[in-house]
């Protein structure tokens, strides 16, 4: 369904800050794939996701989604195909607006917006139903400002917003990294539950190798802007963290996996 072919990306070309980030990246996802993505800091994971979302555009290469070439499509035009949750809990929601207003914005993803009222009565009932599923007590706080919520609540809400209109592809970029361990695992389980119930295709970046093995049906490891390891099915299920560390060390020529990768 998603196909990225031979993608190259250099940030700040021809300056002292020039940085070649993606170097001939090739990715192909099948319908219903739930892929976890791991790799050291600066490997280009976020850049890959941002490229899919249209935040950045590739210097070379092409991206197609369900056969449609979206390489040059502006971010807001391809948003209808994508659900996104970011690392920073502040990124995914509008803090000064109410929970229901945030949901209403997300409910209209991919639709024309006009001069109709911003939220309808029927919608509010739907939101209550959906919020109940999060089991965070948000269903009674529909008109509370999102800025009052905790990081975990905001991430759960963002996840709900990302999937309120079923996306073709769900992009999760370290969406539990800023949360405490307990909240993180709750949000992760919620993610898995939502992905399973709508049979979504998803890409989930994580620094937690255990999670990367535990969740999803496929795992890819990135190093210096390329995929160096791609494993799925039974083989993935039987992986151990030590296997991944070994792979990483081999690829990086003996360089140790960074602290964040080992500790988490």
């Amino acid at each position: 369904m998603l196909k990225m072919t031979n993608i190259y990306k250099t940030f700040n070309p021809n300056t002292v800050n020039e940085k070649l980030v993606l170097r001939g990246l090739n990715v192909e996802l099948k319908d219903g794939d739930f892929v976890t993505v791991i790799g050291g800091n600066g490997a280009g994971k976020s850049t890959m996701l941002n490229m899919i979302a249209g935040v950045h555009f590739p210097d070379q290469g092409s991206i197609t989604l369900d056969g449609e070439d979206i390489t040059g499509l502006p971010e807001h035009k391809r948003a209808k195909y994508l659900g996104r949750v970011f690392q920073d809990p502040m990124m995914g929601t509008a803090a000064n607006m109410e929970i229901e207003e945030n949901l209403a914005l997300a409910y209209r993803r991919g639709q024309k917006r006009g001069l109709n009222w911003g939220i309808t009565k029927e919608e509010k009932e739907l939101y209550v139903e959906k919020l109940k599923m999060l089991d965070l007590g948000l269903e009674t706080r529909l008109t509370a400002k999102v800025g009052l919520l905790s990081g975990g609540q905001r991430q759960a809400l963002t996840l709900l917003m990302a999937t309120l209109q079923q996306p073709k592809l769900l992009l999760l970029d370290e969406h539990t990294a800023a949360l405490d361990p307990k909240t993180a695992s709750k949000v992760l389980e919620l993610s898995e539950q939502i992905i399973a119930s709508y049979s979504l295709t998803a890409l989930m970046v994580t620094h937690n190798m255990k999670n990367a093995i535990q969740y999803g049906n496929r795992l890819i490891m990135m190093y210096e802007g390329k995929i160096i390891y791609d494993v799925s099915g039974e083989e993935k299920k039987n992986l151990h963290v030590s296997d991944l560390l070994e792979k990483f060390e081999k690829a990086s020529g003996g360089e140790f996996a960074n602290d964040r990768m080992i500790l988490s």
Binding site: H76, T93, A94, A95, L105, R109, W117, I119
Partner: protein, 309 residues
């Protein structure tokens, strides 16, 4: 002039300038965009209204429509400079403002246009009412009452429209854009369009306000917009400080109108106490700086209290 009369005049002035403050609120608070072009679009609205009346004998009500549209166009220019040409927000506004200074001189062909002897909007409505003598009041008092009435009617209409518009799907997107652009784009909205629309709406209101002020003060001047953004901000922050608890959108808009009136009363009072007119702008700047720093000062105080414990 006694102080009661001064305050009476201040209230009517506050009402005619309140729409400017509402316009500034749209950009400064809702869109999170410090838009300097308002200084130019305010004078543009005034100049156009005056010239259409004096040179083309237009009905004053019709001139208001043209002034509003012209202000909106000025806002669109700023939006274009910022979103399409990627010029920083402040600079985009300043460019439009400076450009409009020449435009306004061209429009009027001179630095100011007097409406003396013209049948201004205020005069027209006053003409429909009984003579001041019959009512047992001074002519100037009747004129002030009419100005207040006109101000109130327009403010009511503007608040209704704003309340409706910012509750619609597009209005919600504009509000969200001022809050978190990345999120709005992720929801499939073109944030550039939303910014242009917000600027267009804001400057349209400011053009209208300039025209109303011109109609009520009886002249337009190229420099009538100087300091307009600060006057708008003063009204906003005074309103916010006084009506802190108001959470409802309509309530917030009303608070700004109240802020605009109180600002004018403060000015009237300090002038009565002997402040020189030349020092007014400095005084306003200080008031705004103080009011804007209230949240910071408050949190500092809170911190000191915590530390003391």
């Amino acid at each position: 002039m006694n102080i009661v009369m001064a305050i009476f005049g201040a209230v009517s002035q506050g009402l005619t300038w309140a729409i400017l403050a509402l316009g500034v609120y749209l950009t400064f608070r809702i869109l999170n965009f410090a838009d300097m072009s308002c200084e130019g679009s305010f004078a543009l609205g005034g100049s156009i209204s005056a010239v259409l009346m004096v040179n083309f004998q237009w009905n004053p009500f019709l001139t208001l429509i043209v002034s509003t549209l012209a202000g909106a166009a000025a806002g669109a220019v700023t939006g274009f400079l910022h979103t399409r040409l990627k010029i920083p927000a402040i600079l985009s506004g300043i460019l439009t403002m400076i450009g409009l200074y020449s435009v306004n001189l061209r429009v009027m062909g001179q630095a100011n246009t007097s409406l003396i002897g013209q049948n201004t909007l205020i005069m027209m409505i006053k003409g429909l009412l009984p003579e001041a003598k019959e009512l047992g009041i001074k002519d100037s008092t009747l004129q002030t009452w009419v100005t207040m009435g006109v101000g109130l009617v327009f403010i009511f209409a503007v608040i209704m429209i704003l309340y409706w518009f910012f509750g619609t799907e597009i209005g919600c997107c504009i509000r969200a854009t001022g809050n978190n652009e990345a999120m709005v784009r992720a929801q499939g909205v073109n944030t550039d369009k939303m910014k242009i629309l917000g600027l267009l709406f804001s400057n349209g209101l400011i053009g209208l306000s300039g025209a109303l002020v011109t109609q009520s003060q009886g002249y337009a001047d190229v420099s009538m917009g100087v300091g307009a953004i600060v006057i708008g901000l003063a009204s906003i922050v005074i309103g916010e400080v006084l009506l802190l608890r108001v959470k409802n959108f309509a309530g917030k808009l009303i608070a700004i109108v109240v802020g605009s009136i109180i600002y004018r009363i403060i000015i009237a009072v300090v002038l009565q106490f002997g402040l020189a007119t030349d020092d007014l702008k400095l005084f306003t700047a200080i008031v705004v700086a103080l009011a804007l720093s209230v949240p910071v000062l408050k949190s500092k105080k809170g911190m000191i209290r915590k530390e003391a414990r």
